[in-house]
Every structure is written in C-alpha cells, then in structure tokens.
C-alpha cells in the first residue's frame, strides 16, 4: 500500500474503553496528582435497581378505585407505639432525615424545621447536636444519638420528641464521618467541643456499646433518662437489612430507620459511597420480612430512606411494607441546593448545577452546605421552609393519587399486590412479579 492509499482507506474508529472511561481516567490522574482519595457529599450516583423499576397496576374490574379529591385517602401515621409513652403523630408519611448543623448552615436547619412543621411532619438533628433554630421551628424533632456524641446532653434529650440511635447510614455503612476544618466555625467548634479549623472525625462505632446485647442496655438507659416517653428509633445503613432489623428490634427499638446506598452524606470517600451498601430497593423486603417473622410488622414502624424523589417513590416504599419514608437530598434540592441560578459560580468551581457535591469545602453558593456568613446570608429560611413544605405536600398528594387509583382509603393500605416489576433484578429484590407475568425469580409460579 502506498502513502496515498493509506490516507484514503477506511480507518478503525477510535474506541474508548468502557472500563477505562474518561471519568475513570480523570480520577486516576487526580489521585496520582494529589495523593488523596476523593471526598464528596451526596449518595451513590451510579445506576442501581430503584423504584423506577416498579410500576403500579391501578384498579380496573377486579379492584375499584377511589374518586380523586372526593373520597378520602388518609396519609397520617403514628410512630413509636411499641414502648414509648408519647408516640409521634405525623400528617404525612414523609420525614426529614438527619442532617447536621455543621454540615448544613443554621439557616438551612431552620428551613428544614419550618418546612417539616408546615407540612405536618418531623425533622431530625444530626452529628453536631441540636440547635435552637431547629428546635424552635420544628414541631416534631428527632434527636440523633451518634457515635461522636457531639453536643449530646440530657437536656436536649428530654426536649426532643424522639431519639434516633444511629448505627449506620446508607452512604457509608460501617464508616464514620469527617467534617473538614474549613467548615468548623466558632459555633460549630463550640458545640462539638473541639478547636476551630481542625478536621473533626466522627467515629464509626459507638464509644460505649458494641453489639445488640449492649444496645439493649443502652436503649434502657436512654428510656430511663427520658422517663420512657420518647420513641427510640434505630437507624441502620443498608448492609444486612434482615439481620440488622431483627437485632435492632430485639434490642428494643420502637422504629427502624433503614437507609439504602442512595442515601446522602455530608462528606465521605466517593469510593465508599459507590461501593459499599445495598440499593434502597433491595433493603425493604428483607426488613419487612424480619418484622413479619417477629410478628411485629406495623407494631415496630419502618422508615425507608435513600433516593426518594417523589410521591411514586413514597407509594412504592409503602406498598412494599414501609410505614414512612425519609428524605435528605431531595429536601436540600427543594431548599435550593444545586439550583441552576448559581451556575456561574458552580462553573468557577469546575462543576455544574446538578453535579455539585463538594459540600465539605464549605463554598456552597446556595448557602445551604456552608458556614460562610456571606453565603448563608443568601439563604432565606422562611422562603426555604415554604419551598420544602410545598414539595412535601406535592409528594403526599402524588402518593394519595396513586393510592386512590389502587382503591386505597389510606396510603398504608398499599400492598405488594399493587405492583409489578420491570426487571428481573427488581422482581427478585422486591418479590413482586415481573410485568405481564406471574413470575418472581426463585419462586414457584403464582396461579
């Protein structure tokens, strides 16, 4: 072949490796240049089986629907009915997940309280203690009891409405936390009893108990300190949902909070977020099965979190057996996180709206994941609360709409029989038949 033939003959199209993708290669180069693993906020970004892999069947001849806007479809629920003297009553089955003051600004925490209260639901403290803003603006406030015990004290324990013993979270089952120095303002430092500006590590294990037998005694102590009034939640990451649920119930939990791998975090290694834990969808049925095996389904309530976005996700989680869901990332977006209005500033940081996740750096232009007064000053907690309230109400309406279409007078009457699955994986995980069939992988055909 001469040179002329070479220039005109067809050439192999350049093909990039799916294994060594541009993003993968960029991360290798970043690691090589810096020597530090990537830390970011949020939950798993990879594609995993999710609620989109399920559909509702709706009513027809065999089941009849309820009239939208005219026939009642209730959304209220009570949590903590097992042992607590003062169970919690919520108007909607969507709660706000624990997010710390420190990771979030004080005004953002206030907005979460305002929004949740307007919508008739609860909000939750986080790893850093209870702030006056969130207590004052939250009708129902859940106080997290975390391994770090930052800000933990008996007075706040008594003025909360429920206690959530955090064993793990979906973004990092088995992992602790880190609030980097740039977010440690004077107030955050004081609440956590640590010097300003240093990285604050949150332990991965509780300092004074290990295992379910100890947890049972720890729960006894918490109940004794609070006169057996407060419901005790136990929050677990989506690792081994059947066994963890069983053990938490055995230890005396009133409520189980189960967080799948799409659940967010303020800051953790990207590799941890993307490679540890199970998808939310895969966690629900094993947890429900554990409760059923104990004869305590609905007596011990189950709250599911991790990637909940809209009323259909809510309805699907409830249909699979949950009593409520919890939202974190979605609540932040409702407040204004990752809003395109800040695109120019996102671009300056080398990112874009929808992808901004360096929350640990404290540079959030929306004023939500920062302690910088110039940035938090941009955030209006009243408006933020209103936006969150609107969003929560829309989600509840959406879930009601679906429930009515399935003929349910309460969203808790939704059941697995209202669902079909679109994929083999989702079917296997949820024990719901694949659409158009009566087949569930691993099960005999249902007649």
């Amino acid at each position: 072949m001469n040179d002329r033939d070479k220039s005109t003959s067809p050439r192999t199209v350049p093909i990039k490796s799916s294994n060594f993708s541009d993003a993968t290669n960029a991360e290798i180069r970043r690691a090589a240049a810096t020597g530090i693993y990537d830390i970011r906020g949020g939950g798993a970004k990879r594609v995993v089986p999710h609620f989109d892999d399920l559909l509702f069947l709706g009513a027809s001849i065999s089941r009849y629907p309820l009239e939208g806007y005219r026939e009642t479809c209730e959304t209220n629920l009570t949590l903590g009915t097992r042992f607590a003297k003062k169970p919690i009553h919520l108007d909607i089955p969507i709660t706000i997940a624990g997010m710390s003051f420190g990771a979030l600004s004080g005004v953002a925490k206030e907005a979460l309280g305002r929004g949740a209260t307007e919508a008739g639901t609860s909000t939750t403290t986080g790893d850093g203690g209870m702030t006056e803003e969130e207590r004052r603006h939250s009708r129902t406030l859940i106080y997290q009891y975390l391994p770090s015990r930052y800000g933990m004290n008996p007075d706040d324990l008594r003025r909360c409405d429920a206690i959530e013993v955090v064993v793990g979270q979906g973004a990092k089952p088995g992992g602790g936390g880190m609030l980097l120095g740039q977010k440690i303002s004077d107030r955050v430092a004081e609440m956590r009893n640590l010097p300003k500006g240093i990285d604050q590590r949150s332990a991965c294990r509780h300092p004074d108990w290990t295992g379910p037998d100890d947890l049972e005694i720890k729960i006894l102590e918490l109940r004794e300190i609070t006169d057996w009034e407060k419901p005790i939640y136990v929050k677990i990451g989506g690792a081994r949902p059947y066994f963890d649920t069983t053990l938490a119930v055995k230890a005396g939990a009133d409520v189980i909070v189960l967080d799948g791998m799409q659940g967010g975090t303020a800051a953790t290694q990207n590799i941890f977020i993307e490679h540890v834990g199970q998808p939310t969808l895969a966690c629900i049925r094993p947890a429900v099965q554990a409760l059923e095996d104990l004869g305590l389904h609905r007596e011990v309530q189950l709250i599911i979190s991790g990637g909940i976005r809209h009323g259909a996700d809510v309805a699907k989680a409830l249909a699979l057996g949950a009593d409520a869901v919890s939202i974190g990332t979605a609540a932040m977006i409702a407040l204004g996180d990752n809003d395109p209005r800040w695109e120019a500033e996102y671009n300056e940081m080398g990112t874009t709206a929808g992808a901004y996740d360096d929350w640990h750096e404290g540079m959030d232009p929306a004023g939500i994941t920062t302690q910088n007064p110039k940035l938090t000053g941009r955030f209006d907690p009243v408006l933020g609360g209103r936006r969150l309230s609107n969003y929560l109400k829309v989600m509840a309406l959406e879930a009601q709409t679906i429930a009515r279409a399935c003929g349910k007078s309460h969203v808790h009457n939704l059941e697995p029989e209202d669902l079909c699955a679109l994929t083999v994986e989702a079917s296997a995980m949820t024990q719901v038949p694949i659409a158009g069939t009566n087949w569930i992988p691993g099960k005999k055909t249902i007649k």
Binding site: G35, G181, D199, D208, I225
Partner: protein, 227 residues
C-alpha cells in the same frame, strides 16, 4: 436519708424519684441497696443530691449525671458516668470498659482499676483512676483531664485531641499522635487540684504528662500510614 431497696422496688421507680429532685429538696441523701449489678442505676440525675449505692452496679451507672454526687461502694460495669455533664461519681471498686465515655464535665473517681477505653471521646470530664487502666484509653479524647496513678495499657491516647493525660506509672504504648509532653507549672497546679479532689495521696511531680502531637488535625496524605 432515704433508703431504696432495688430488691423490692423497681429501677423505674428509683430513677423517676431521683430525677424528680430537680430543685431544692429536703431529701438530700439517698442510699440504694441491693443493686446486684443492675443497669442504668441513678441515670439522668439533675440535682445537688447525694446517692450512695451499696454494692456493685452494671452498665451506665450515673449516666448523663448533672450536679449529683454518686458513690458506688462496689464495682461498676461498662460506661459508668457516660456523658456526665457535672457532679461527681466515685467508684470504690473497679470499673469495666468505657468509664467516663464522652463525659462533658464533673469528676469521675475510680479507686480501683478501670478497663479498656477509659475516657474514650471525653469532652471535658475529669477522670482520676487510683489503679491501672486498659488499652485504647483516651481514644479520640477531646478535652478534660485523665489522671492515672497506676499503669496504662496499649495505644494510650490514640487520635487524641486536646485532653490532658497524666500518668504516674508505666505506659505500655502510646497511640497514634499521642506524645509525652513537658509538665509546666500550670499543669502541676491543675493536677495537684485534681489529686486532692479525688482523695489521692500523691504529688503532681510524680506524674508524666501526655498530649496530642496535633499532626492529624488536618488531613495530610503524608500521614496516610497513621490513618
């Protein structure tokens, strides 16, 4: 003095009664009999009362204590004085794991020995142990003072923040980022006061001070082997 017998009355009744004493009270001294290693005895107290436990207690004795003075005339299980805010707890015998864990204030005195993880994640409490303590003690200790008259086990003060550690005996090994430090006059003064308050008959000059090297306060890849 009110005597409360845990053999005939319930833990719930006991704690409720003690916790109710939030204001000035005529009943300032309580004696608890037959604890028999029971858990969560005298937790969540919030008044200037004196409680004497005749015998040994189980987990979390005096947990989250505020203001009260608790004397255990026996030994205690794990987590004695956990998250204590103020007041004083004295254990005449030995203590199990996590003594004084995450304590914010007040003083914990253990006349015997304490087990592993004594003072873990302490946040301002003063702990004085007349005997020895076990491994991983003062792990991630944030502030306050830990005084040990005897010896200390492995990995002492691992990942320490600003807590001050004083040891009279031997330390088997130091944890990551924990170093021996100079004992300056202000430290001697603090230590002497603590020793006197804890009824320890020894001199501050006999002790060695340990503290944080502060090398792990901000992430640095060159310290990766320490993480």
């Amino acid at each position: 003095m009110r005597i409360f017998d845990l053999e005939t009355e319930s833990l719930r009744t006991l704690n409720k009664m003690l916790q109710a004493k939030v204001h000035d009270t005529n009943q300032a001294h309580w004696q608890i009999e037959n604890p028999k290693g029971g858990h969560a005895i005298a937790v969540g107290l919030d008044a200037f009362i004196e409680v004497t436990v005749i015998g040994s207690a189980g987990y979390y004795c005096g947990g989250m204590n505020k203001k009260a003075t608790i004397n255990v005339q026996g030994s205690v299980g794990p987590g004695v004085a956990e998250n204590m805010m103020s007041g004083k707890i004295v254990v005449e015998g030995d203590a199990s794991q996590y003594a004084g864990a995450t304590g914010n204030g007040g003083m914990l005195v253990i006349k015997g020995n304490a087990s592993s993880r004594c003072g873990i994640s302490m946040k301002g409490i003063d702990i004085v142990v007349h005997g020895n303590i076990g491994h991983m003690s003062a792990f991630m200790a944030q502030s306050g003072n830990l005084v040990v008259l005897g010896n200390v086990g492995d990995a002492f003060g691992d990942s320490l923040y600003e807590a001050r550690l004083f040891v009279r005996g031997e330390v088997k090994s130091l944890g990551t980022d924990c170093i021996k430090k100079e004992m300056r006059p202000e430290h001697l003064a603090i230590l002497q006061r603590l020793l006197e308050e804890a009824g320890a008959n020894c001199r501050a000059e006999e002790f060695t001070r340990y503290g944080s090297a502060r090398k792990l306060y901000n992430f640095n890849v060159d310290n990766a082997s320490a993480y």
